[in-house]
């Protein structure tokens, strides 16, 4: 395995209260694979990503246990300097909002070249050539000329490609994409996803794709982890998940995203209630309060991970 996350825990400390945002999450991803992490906003997906890169917002958040093994090295045990060598170089990340992800006062050339210079000592001209190559890889037209442009001179879609060029500049082995297409409109989103797929194939890149959009998951991912309230409630190969989701939360999520009868009278399904606050004390299954099939036991005891073969697992008492 390239990346193996084991029992990762991340806590927030705000106003003297402790909240668990990521609560014992485990998953893994290998070369050329794409793992989707799905969940509502606030389910802990982005915090999981930031925990892997150790870029949690300080001083509020901190790691509270678990392991992040990248090719066997526990990233959580590295010091600052060692960790920095992994960022951008081995593991990189694409952020959600291309409008704010680029530094407005630096040219995009500066920003791409900086990413390269951070990890490779090369002559200036060579760095420049690589930067142009990156922009071309992401199909930014007139790449050589655009190096001197500033972010505000690009459209949203083009900016997201620049962000992609920065993230991929040092040829990382793992790319974490945190809702990279949410801010883009449909056609631009489509182009971007195609591009990402192609680059993945060419470089056998591993991708962790964080999204709340199940249609994107179906298109991009080999395997999916569904997160709810800081926990992975179901893990499965993409096809298996869509064919037979086992956890009530996943089922509800699928129903709300893909209405079975395309009837205009059919009400769009939505899950009643809201996820629990991360500051609430935990008893039992976090989904119990909103679950249609809730049993007394669910409120007492947290359900274990139940393996169902072929990499499909869910944590629910219904399956026990």
């Amino acid at each position: 395995m390239m990346l193996e996350v084991r029992d990762l825990k991340t806590q927030f400390l705000i106003g003297g209260r402790t909240g668990t945002a990521v609560d014992g999450v485990s998953f893994s991803v290998d070369e050329g694979q794409t793992l989707g992490i799905v969940g509502e906003s606030g389910s802990g997906k982005s915090i999981t990503a930031l925990s892997i890169l150790r870029l949690l917002p300080r001083p509020f958040a901190r790691n509270a246990g678990g392991e992040v093994l990248f090719r066997g090295v526990d990233l959580l045990k590295l010091n600052d300097k060692q960790m920095r060598r992994y960022r951008g170089h081995h593991i990189s990340m694409v952020l959600q909002d291309p409008m704010t992800a680029l530094n407005p006062v630096l040219t995009i050339g500066d920003q791409i070249e900086e990413a390269i210079r951070m990890h490779r000592k090369l002559p200036r001209a060579e760095v420049r050539r690589l930067a142009i190559e990156m922009l071309e890889l992401l199909r930014v037209p007139a790449a050589a000329r655009r190096l001197a442009s500033y972010p505000h001179e690009f459209s949203g879609g083009m900016r997201q490609r620049v962000v992609g060029a920065i993230a991929l500049a040092c040829q990382p082995e793992l790319l974490i994409a945190d809702e990279p297409t949410t801010a883009l409109d449909a056609t631009v989103q489509d182009q971007y996803l195609r591009l990402l797929k192609r680059i993945q194939r060419d470089r056998s890149l591993a991708i962790i794709f964080i999204t709340h959009d199940l249609a994107v998951v179906a298109r991009m991912c080999d395997r999916v982890a569904v997160m709810y309230a800081g926990r992975v409630v179901e893990r499965a190969p993409t096809a298996a998940l869509f064919a037979q989701a086992r956890h009530p939360y996943t089922q509800a999520l699928l129903r709300s995203a893909l209405p079975e009868i395309p009837d205009r009278n059919a009400r769009l399904y939505s899950i009643e209630g809201a996820p629990p606050s991360i500051f609430q004390p935990r008893h039992g299954c976090p989904f119990a309060a909103r679950c249609e099939h809730v049993m007394p036991r669910c409120r007492e005891e947290a359900p274990p991970d139940i393996e169902m073969g072929q990499g499909h697992a869910a944590s629910c008492w219904l399956l026990a």
Binding site: R84, G88, S92, M93, L102
Partner: protein, 310 residues
Amino acid sequence: MLMLILSRALQSCVALLVLSVVVFGLSRASGDPVELMVPVDATQEARDVLRHTLGLDRSLAEQYVTFLTGALSGDLGVSIRERRPALDLVFERLSNSAWLALTAMTVALTLAIPLAVAAAVWKGTLIDAFARYIAVLGQSMPTFFVGLVLIIVVSGRWGLLPAGGMESWQSYVLPSITLGWFVVAGMMRLLRSSLLEVLDSEFVKLARIKGVPERVVIWKHALRNALISVVTLGGVYFALLLSTAVIVETVFAWPGLGRLAYDAVRFRDFPVTQAVVLVTAVLVVTINLVVDFLYAWLDPRIRRSQSGGS
């Protein structure tokens, strides 16, 4: 960009014109200059002659035009007290003030920037609290009081530095600290809060994702963006600096523009007062234009836009 600078320059000219009317009006409203210039026992005839030579018997509008054309050609009248062209007096003092302002700004920036960075980076720690108290204290201590306390303690009690005048580099120390101290508080506060905002931004996160060391993240990516909001207020700071300079120069007997203004107003030397106010105004306008340039240089969004919104 060019449009922006042009429109700013035009606005500045209008502001200067308005100010010249105010200055002219004030100087005329404050009493008949003839009375200040002639001996008490002068005859009515002598007064009328002088009034005529000074052009004071013409209409106000005519007088204003004369005043303005004079001002534009560098003639702002003759000092009543010193019997020398007012503008010469002003220029003699200008460089002294400029040096003081420059050293004070240097003091202020070398204190404010690192302190603001430290407070923002280590938010919520003792350093942050310390910076916060410095800021509150700085805004609560009147400049003249800081100056006097420094004189009492450093010059009086310890006998270390001169209490006034402008003889050697040592004379610069106390006035520039006094003048700079005042700027430190406000600037640090502003820089800290805008740094905090920037450090929380997505592009700083992206820089960290690239593996950029924290030092570079702060000084290259964050500070430059945060400085934009400080530079925006650069004009306001400069105005405050000038105001404060009047007081500091008075306290430390510094032969600068502020001291000249103070003396001129006290001795009702109106040509000099006018000259000081107008030269200061031109200075303010120029500095504000420089600030606009600086702002545009720091922020490509403005530099590169053709219309240049404000």
